[in-house]
Symmetry: C2
Amino acid sequence: MRDVAIIGVGMNKWGELWQKSLRDVFVESALLAIEDAGVDHIDSMYVGCMTSGLFVGQEHLASLLSDYLGMGPIPAARVESACASGGLAVRMGFMDVASGMSDIVLVGGVEKMTDVGGDGATYALSTAADQEYEVYHGITFPGLYALMARNHMEKYGTTREQLAQVAVKNHENGSKNPLAQFPQKVTVEEVIKSIMVADPLTILDCSPITDGSACLILCPAEMARKLSKKPPIKIIGTGNATDTIALHGRSDFTTLNATVKAAERAYKMAGVKPEEIDLAEVHDCFTIAEIIISEDLGFFKKGDGGKAVGSGMTAIGGKKPINASGGLKSKGHPVGATGVAQVVEIVHQLRGEAGGRQVKDAKIGLTQNMGGSGGSAVVHIMQAM
Amino acid sequence: MRDVAIIGVGMNKWGELWQKSLRDVFVESALLAIEDAGVDHIDSMYVGCMTSGLFVGQEHLASLLSDYLGMGPIPAARVESACASGGLAVRMGFMDVASGMSDIVLVGGVEKMTDVGGDGATYALSTAADQEYEVYHGITFPGLYALMARNHMEKYGTTREQLAQVAVKNHENGSKNPLAQFPQKVTVEEVIKSIMVADPLTILDCSPITDGSACLILCPAEMARKLSKKPPIKIIGTGNATDTIALHGRSDFTTLNATVKAAERAYKMAGVKPEEIDLAEVHDCFTIAEIIISEDLGFFKKGDGGKAVGSGMTAIGGKKPINASGGLKSKGHPVGATGVAQVVEIVHQLRGEAGGRQVKDAKIGLTQNMGGSGGSAVVHIMQAM
């Protein structure tokens, strides 16, 4: 199995991009990544996208995008694992290079979510939950995560303020990210007093609906230095795991088993321990998610995630910076693009080019991307070469 | 890169399976494949599915199915390339084993198409074409393939009867396949006189709407003989390519460039020539497609595909048997499952267990699976070990 490195990254400005079609949104980031890598061709392509079928009536996405990018007739595949589609695309691209099938691989993620109305987006997103066992009974994702939050609060004493502090921290970080959809800073009071969605989660505990894309260029590690002038970033671990997608099938609502297993696999492959991770981008689709994930990745003892954010440990200057990019909360959450954008941020950080949100002396970074209420998870660990 | 073999196959009875949900349809074939392989676990899973989001309101499919199969927390990915999703899943499973990431991999394809009404299915399928450049203007797939048919007829003298003969042959073959949706034999006259869909294509020139699934178990070739009592079948070539998904972007309507390129790549990797292929399963979504594909795979000179079927060369007893299974026409076309089912048929044929439709002395088989009007194609070449 060949070692794999990232030699180019690209991400467009995220937001409500009504004036652009899905293909335009994707190609913006793809061209930035190709330019950043300095390559003159690509050998194959992976696109993470959750549900362009429901959002814009377009499947067959990888062919469409490879053509629009001017890269046909390259091999191209779209992969899907709900909101973990982007992370999964990174994993498939990794395998393609590792296996020796392709040398230069473009990995992209994209979602165009604002072309449907509010109800349409809620319906499209609900297809990440179990239609027959959950959705038909009326529950949507804020409701599912609210159940987790209540359970975590009762079991471990996590407070409403600690949930809000996740949003405060991530909007603070996002204010330093020129590509973030909502770079506005918020206060604990503003989060708590914002519109109630599903008790205890208010609208400022929830990640937004976003149009956006993100792309990477991968190649064999031994080819990386020759191809690129920028410091190549090696993918040293990849882990993917599944869980019941219906919440009622799980024995514990305060642990995300797919994340635990995916992380175990990635740590084992990388040969590193949680304490060696310098910074992480994790799937804060709701504030409670970041708290649970920070425990499940082994950064903090189970139940201590709330206290960790409260004490500033997960802030950019803290011991374990989480979501320096602004996370899903502030940067935005175009579902299929999120997992790729997390890797884009880690690459910027490990290259030392993250500007005002730079984490000092970052050597090893981790991404955790998750589908639905945690029914799937993809973890990657990266290191500067 | 490790060699990869198929050690188990499974396919359920295809048709209008209103009494079963998508997850049930999938698990039937998965359990058959696991039993056929004789394995006691799987390490990872790939699911080809075109648009469960539009057909049954369910994305996040690989997690759902790995859980329902009792296989969580294994890594699991859904892949999509419209009607080539199944072939793409085979390719991803191949890479996973070849790279050394996983040993025993389940590759499945599934589609549940009959839970939506006729208009719903036509809309869902239309998302494989270019929404902005084709579908908004009113054209659907029968229309696109009718354009190709007319062009082929004018350019090469292909006749209406030759188109019909593809259907006659495939229904004849399908009558010997107990799992086929439409095993009824048809005559040239019946095909021509059936309901007109898009001139010159009548309803019997078109593949049907189907519920169904198909599954394979892959493993490293060197492990295959130890794991399985049945003769392992080696995947010796894989090729994937893309083309413009909108027909108007192509310089020639009588050639499918993604198929030409994917075949080139698979032949090169396998080190075999078109004349060495003993039998093929190809993507006869419409009768004209089989004719064009049989030329693009290098079996016949461009323009001679119609004559070849007319002369019986592509029948089971002919020199180059095509779609011994009954093809999409008779066996059915649950879009995401089709590419996997093609491989299932080749495995049965190379093992010598295809019963009444057995091709004599079959040693090397090829599958060609295609998305939309040919915007993507996946070709695999297999050989008995």
